[in-house]
């Protein structure tokens, strides 16, 4: 099937955090912007998330977390991404992440972090501009 190539996005909720209002809204917005979106549902381990990235061969991974556990979970996720050769995937994050943690997370390879109040347009533009052009 030769169709127009679509940006495939995985929206993931790592850890025990159960706040999914934002993740679901972003998923819907990206879909309405013409992308193919997979949402993992709640309570995903880093292993589950990275394996899903691999099998679904997504271009983009969005991580949503509001529980404060990001400094444990994100490094683990990025480590597994590297181990599985998935470093070309665009990774961004959202939720409650203190500004002082952002530089460390960016160093791990998380390209951008969108805090509360970020307009959906900003996220959509960011993904469109930065999703890897593969093949």
């Amino acid at each position: 099937m030769v169709s127009e190539r679509k940006i495939r996005v995985l929206i993931a909720k790592p850890g025990l955090d159960s706040h999914d209002r934002g993740a679901k809204i972003v998923a819907r917005a990206l879909r309405d912007a013409g992308m193919e979106v997979i949402y993992t549902g709640l309570r995903q381990t880093p292993e589950q998330i990275v394996e899903t990235v691999l099998q679904e061969d997504v271009d983009v991974l969005g991580l949503s977390i509001l529980s404060g556990a990001h400094m444990t979970l994100f490094p683990r996720i990025m480590e597994l991404m590297k181990k599985n050769g998935l470093t070309d995937v665009l990774v961004f994050a959202g939720g409650i992440i203190p500004e002082e943690d952002m530089p460390k997370l960016k160093k791990l390879g998380i390209k951008e972090i969108f805090g509360p109040g970020t307009p959906l347009e900003t996220i959509i533009d960011f993904v469109r501009k930065n999703a890897p052009r593969r093949m």
Partner: protein, 321 residues
Amino acid sequence: MTSTLKQLACSILTGDRRSIARAITLIENNGEKARKLVAFLYPHTGKAHIIGVTGPGGSGKSTLIEKLVSEFRRRGKTVGVVATDPSSPFTGGAFLGDRIRMQRLATDEDVFIRSMATRNVPGGIAKATKDAVTVLDAAGKDIIIVETVGAGQAEVDIIKVAHTIVVVFAPGLGDEIQAIKAGIMEIADIFVVNKADLENADKAVIDIKASLELNTQGKAWKPPVLKTVALTGEGIEQLINEILQHKAFLEKGAGVHKRRKKVETELVEAIKEKVANLIVENLKKEKAFEKLVEEILNRKIDPYSAASKLIAELTSSWKGD
């Protein structure tokens, strides 16, 4: 075939998950390379049993599939799942929501799950699904499950790739029989009434059986109607046993004949597609083509008569030489 493509193909044969994933992406996006890859892999297929699972939204298919996969795993089988969802005709985007119910299986190395959007290309997803199944088959999966929402013609075409087609209903979703295009009811091999703990489950079973009475007279395989409660796992073993029975049926007598017919149909479809494209390509180059387009625009002739004219010239030229 390029060496990278060859490498990819060989990698798939070893069951490498990354390669399987990349191959399916190729199939979704690149016609030429995908053709070559699938051609290379085809001789290595034929081992997998392909199960199609379809039914109206809300019938609990994904939960049912998760239980099926778990049970197959328990029996030592490796499994691939291809889950399809519709793309929006307006935005082109899609929410691929089947995987959520199966996430528990994400870290089982012998389960591969892939979500595909229909992408609004007529016939496109059916072909892509078929090719994705080929990849998974070549990668060594014992069981491949294809999931669709049985809502339209595209979905009927997708599910035809399967050896065993399971249609899943749930009570209270409305008129069960009308809920699915007639096409699916006719090709189904097994019927399941899921959420059988709800009221009206027995009535749904009776309704389906009644409708089947009329349609399966004289057929070699009589589709059973089963009850399941996917959430608890009730009825899953029985479902698997029926699937295995159907597999055994396919491997002998009437089943073999059915398989042969299917392959013939596939070949004919492939020929049709190639021939149609070939002829159209050539006709478009004729001067007569442009002229006829003008005449249609000026309402001097209708498109069908114009087509007949073009074909007549072509076939007469065959006879001529």
